[in-house]
């Protein structure tokens, strides 16, 4: 390396040439419109998934703690027993009493 070369790449010149080269390398380059479309489609799909996940599922176990919502009933498919807890036993007893009432 000669002293001339060192002088040629003084700070200011190096700064200038670096900035202009990097800016030139991306000048006029734009992402295609499909990236935006794809982004919004993916975000919409993600939003729908999160809504589905956050929907409250009313189960018998939940009812035991929170009480029976007005709109819910034992016949509602979501209210079917999921485990053998106290609410399930109540549900079974009610079914048995119904049978007995029907017989008797």
């Amino acid at each position: 390396m000669t002293s001339h070369d060192c002088h040629a790449w003084a700070d200011a010149e190096l700064d200038h040439v670096l900035a202009s080269t990097l800016r030139e390398s991306v000048r006029g380059k734009e992402p295609p419109a499909r990236v935006r479309e794809s982004l919004l489609r993916a975000a919409e799909a993600s939003r729908r998934r999160s809504i589905r996940i956050s929907l409250p599922v009313v189960g018998v176990d939940d009812l035991g703690a929170k009480g029976l919502p007005e709109s819910a009933s034992w016949d509602h498919p979501r209210a079917q027993p999921r485990s053998w807890g106290m609410p399930t036993m109540v549900w079974l007893l009610e079914a048995q009493f119904s049978k007995l009432r029907a017989i008797g």
Partner: protein
């Protein structure tokens, strides 16, 4: 009541499920993100993927974004992290491919600088930037392309300002050396021929 930045207003709308706000943020920042990713990766397809992924993260993490500040620094940070992930994967592939080629191509060969005549200054600079270690390359790009201060770069890279400053310094020195030596290419000794078919 905390002041909400105009970007924060859009992020608040995204939280409520308004995707047109995400589109508005994309329109505002897409070039900054795309150009940064393109400058770091030098791969158009990768830059497009990073662009989409960065804004998907805005959507996914909208609840965690500070509404009182501009979104740009956060977006730059995400862009750099995604670019780093891409570069790491790419370098593994490239290294294994180069190793394979090295084993197959036995004849002695000179270093690239010795083989090709350097014609264009910008091409030389671009190659020199591309050859920098990732951490220095990112600082150089954020400083010279995106015109960011050392404080902003330090936030984006999640490092002390002094670290960003030293990376910029070492990056510039490496570029200065690379450009100076490329003016007067030095003869590179031929590599030893190794036949290794094991």
């Amino acid at each position: 009541m905390p002041v909400v930045h105009e970007d924060g207003q859009l992020v608040a709308r995204i939280r409520e499920g308004d995707l047109s706000a995400l589109g508005a943020l994309y329109d505002k920042y897409r070039l900054q993100v795309f150009h940064t990713a393109l400058a770091v990766t030098r791969d158009r397809q990768a830059a497009e993927d990073i662009l989409q992924e960065a804004f998907l993260k805005v959507h996914s993490y909208a609840n965690r974004i500070d509404l009182g500040v501009p979104l740009a620094p956060w977006l730059y940070r995400v862009t750099v992290n995604l670019s780093y992930t891409w570069a790491t994967r790419q370098s593994k592939w490239r290294t294994s491919l180069e190793t394979l080629i090295d084993r197959l191509v036995a004849p002695p060969r000179a270093a690239p600088e010795g083989r090709f005549e350097v014609r264009d200054l910008q091409a030389r600079i671009q190659r020199a930037v591309d050859a920098l270690p990732f951490n220095q390359r990112v600082v150089i790009i954020l400083h010279y392309l995106s015109d960011l201060s050392l404080k902003e770069i330090a936030y984006i890279l999640d490092c002390p300002v002094g670290t960003a400053k030293s990376r910029l310094h070492y990056g510039r020195e490496a570029l200065r050396r690379a450009l100076s030596t490329s003016v007067e290419p030095q003869a590179t000794p031929a590599l030893e021929v190794v036949y290794d078919f094991t």
